[in-house]
Symmetry: C2
Subunit: 393 residues, 2 copies
């Protein structure tokens, strides 16, 4: 970003649309408006364009194109994965296993299913935010129909041992599908479904410099899935509604850009994140980096720091005035008082969690922005501590 | 459209994006990428922009802004209306009334609910495609929780007597909500919810020269609605998922353009449609205009003609070669063999329904295009009849 404009450190909430992605989408806004369902040339072209996007994403995930379902976003994809499997499996069982640190789109769907008579086990995590695998073994039972564990946590960045989750679930029964919410991992982690071993995986385009309003669910061929939005043959009858062709094409383009350049992107993000974390931990006393301390155990671009004795909301508002756009707690839940269900599950004391700052770096962030952030954030924290009603004991 | 490019007569399936709408959306693709949930300036701006769009659409519908829920499209909005009310009302009742001529997004949702133990009455229609009001009276019972009747039919254009539907439902019980699918009526009919008397109303942006991937559900204040996509506080907790801000702003702009210009648009569409229908009925023998014969009883831009002795799909493929993009049957159902559940419900004989051509005119269609269509369509029909295996007896 040019000097003077805000430093955007909330990339785990959303990312700017890449200009090359917008360029790929524009024809669909300006000329190619046809839907895919018609029997004329323009409609055939729309079908071709959608299928080309699907094939490209299938290449990235190492799956069949027919195993991908385009949705309106990561949230809808997560709802479809969990509710779709739960409803289709009702005769086989009623038990779902997930973790306490999932995104709300997973947790709220599970809670809605609980109200309908399903049983849900919410696995605990350790202090670093890693799912408790022994608790998983213990929870699996003959009525388990789904295990949902995110690929990495969207607030603290902890990578989850998904291959080990899959191994333990399949050791119990190959018929239990494993779903992973990979929204925050898109564009930074390997998404190859066979290497991961998962049966369902959801993605969001706008977390990867793609458009808003489009996401994806991978569902392995034999996984039974009850459609959640019905009323048309789109997506092989698994998700009705006129296709958002521009968005689908844009999503494929965004992921193409991210993965052709993966190593460089990761290295850039990791380097900036290391500088930012080291600098803040050094300059601001009584600060804790939650989650794993080793960079290789975390997402390169997401981290949460907790500054003792301050209020995260006040910090974020003050940072905004100083030209830094950042988040505290889970942005999607920022209307609630609980700072973060993730930090609570990790056992972070409430008074510490209260001062959490979630940092989400993006590929456009620069060293200069990190320098400025390292000036501004410590100053804001210090001022807040001076006036804080939460002041040290 | 310039001379030489295809004549697009499938506007009831989708419409091109108005350039002014795209202009309103572009800033969100190029700069304003923030989501609405953050605590920084850009996020506040996104919230403001969404709420301005909501207020504008609320003005058009004559409702409170808080009564509008943005969705990913008309199909999702219809699913949310029906399933949302059905699930929220399960203790009060289990009976839904709809018509045999609804769009598949309504019919398929009702059928899914039947599989879950709800009862659904599908009201018959008369030969013109108007819902049978006596059958409605007869169907209403103490366990009825929802009545769903579309504002106008999307295949044959028949206006439904929605005010009379509302009167009869409310005479039975004021507690039974009336939902109307207004997707095809957007941009051509009055959508004021108090004048219509309805409690729920759904719209799609891309039917009104707006963007794909966004729609709207109006739900009157006291209507209980169980959210269908959960996992965030967006849309007051009634529809989770990061907001597609560009789409929401574009939808408001599209409806603003349509309604500030409503009379002129309607007059233009009606005049072209009258010319097209009169010309085809005059030039092609053994042709039937299904639905009401009087223009004031139909949508100005949607009509179905049935040409005896030909196959609709073959006609559409031949028209495509001749430079006309048109549809036969319901485009969303064109993978099925049944030409149209709407024509079947209206009692159109199968051999006649088989040769149906659905005409959807748009504001960009010109007199010159109608002239060309009046040359091409009769020629195509005649040729198909000459080689038709369905040939006259």
């Amino acid at each position: 970003m040019p000097d003077g404009s805000p430093i955007f450190l909330d990339h785990s909430t959303t990312t700017p649309l890449a200009p090359a992605v917008f360029a790929a989408m524009r024809p669909y806004y300006e000329e190619r408006f046809a839907v895919a369902s018609g029997q004329y040339a323009a409609a055939r072209q729309a079908r071709k364009d959608i299928e080309a996007a699907r094939e490209q994403l299938a290449g990235l995930l190492g799956c069949r194109p027919a195993e991908l379902i385009f949705t309106s976003g990561g949230t809808e994809a997560a709802n479809l994965a969990i509710r779709g499997v739960a409803e289709a499996s009702r005769r086989r069982g009623d038990h779902i296993i997930t973790t306490q640190i999932e995104h709300r789109c997973v947790l709220d769907t599970c809670q809605a299913l609980e109200r309908q008579g399903y049983r849900v086990t919410y696995l605990p995590v350790d202090a670093a935010g890693r799912v408790d695998l022994d608790a998983l073994d213990h929870a699996l039972d003959a009525r388990t129909i789904l295990v949902a564990v995110m690929l990495a946590n969207n607030e603290v960045g902890t990578l989850q041992p998904i291959a080990e989750v899959v191994r333990r679930v399949k050791a119990r029964s190959r018929a239990i599908p494993v779903y992973t919410d990979a929204a925050i991992a898109g564009g930074v982690l390997d998404l190859h479904v066979d290497r991961l071993g998962v049966d369902l995986l959801s993605l969001s385009a706008h977390k990867v410099y793609g458009p808003r309003g489009v996401g994806l669910l991978y569902a392995r061929r034999l996984v039974q899935l009850t459609p959640q939005i019905v009323g048309g043959n789109q997506e092989r009858g698994r998700r009705a509604g006129t296709e958002y062709v521009a968005g689908i094409v844009g999503m494929a383009k965004a992921f193409e850009l991210a993965y052709q350049d993966l190593d460089a992107r990761r290295a850039h993000l990791q380097r900036l994140m290391q500088r930012l974390l080291d600098g803040l931990l050094e300059r601001v006393p009584e600060t804790v980096l939650v989650g794993p301390q080793a960079m290789e155990e975390r997402l390169p671009h997401v981290a949460t720091l907790c500054f003792r004795y301050i209020d995260g909301e006040a910090m974020v508002l003050n940072l905004d005035v100083q030209g830094i756009a950042a988040a505290s707690g889970s942005a999607c839940a920022s209307a609630t008082f609980d700072p973060s269900h993730v930090l609570r599950a990790m056992g972070v004391p409430k008074e510490l969690a209260h001062g959490n700052l979630r940092l989400g770096l993006g590929i456009d962030n620069t060293d200069d922005e990190i320098d400025r952030a390292l000036e501004i954030i410590p100053r804001v924290v210090q001022r807040l501590r001076e006036i804080s009603p939460l002041g040290r004991a």
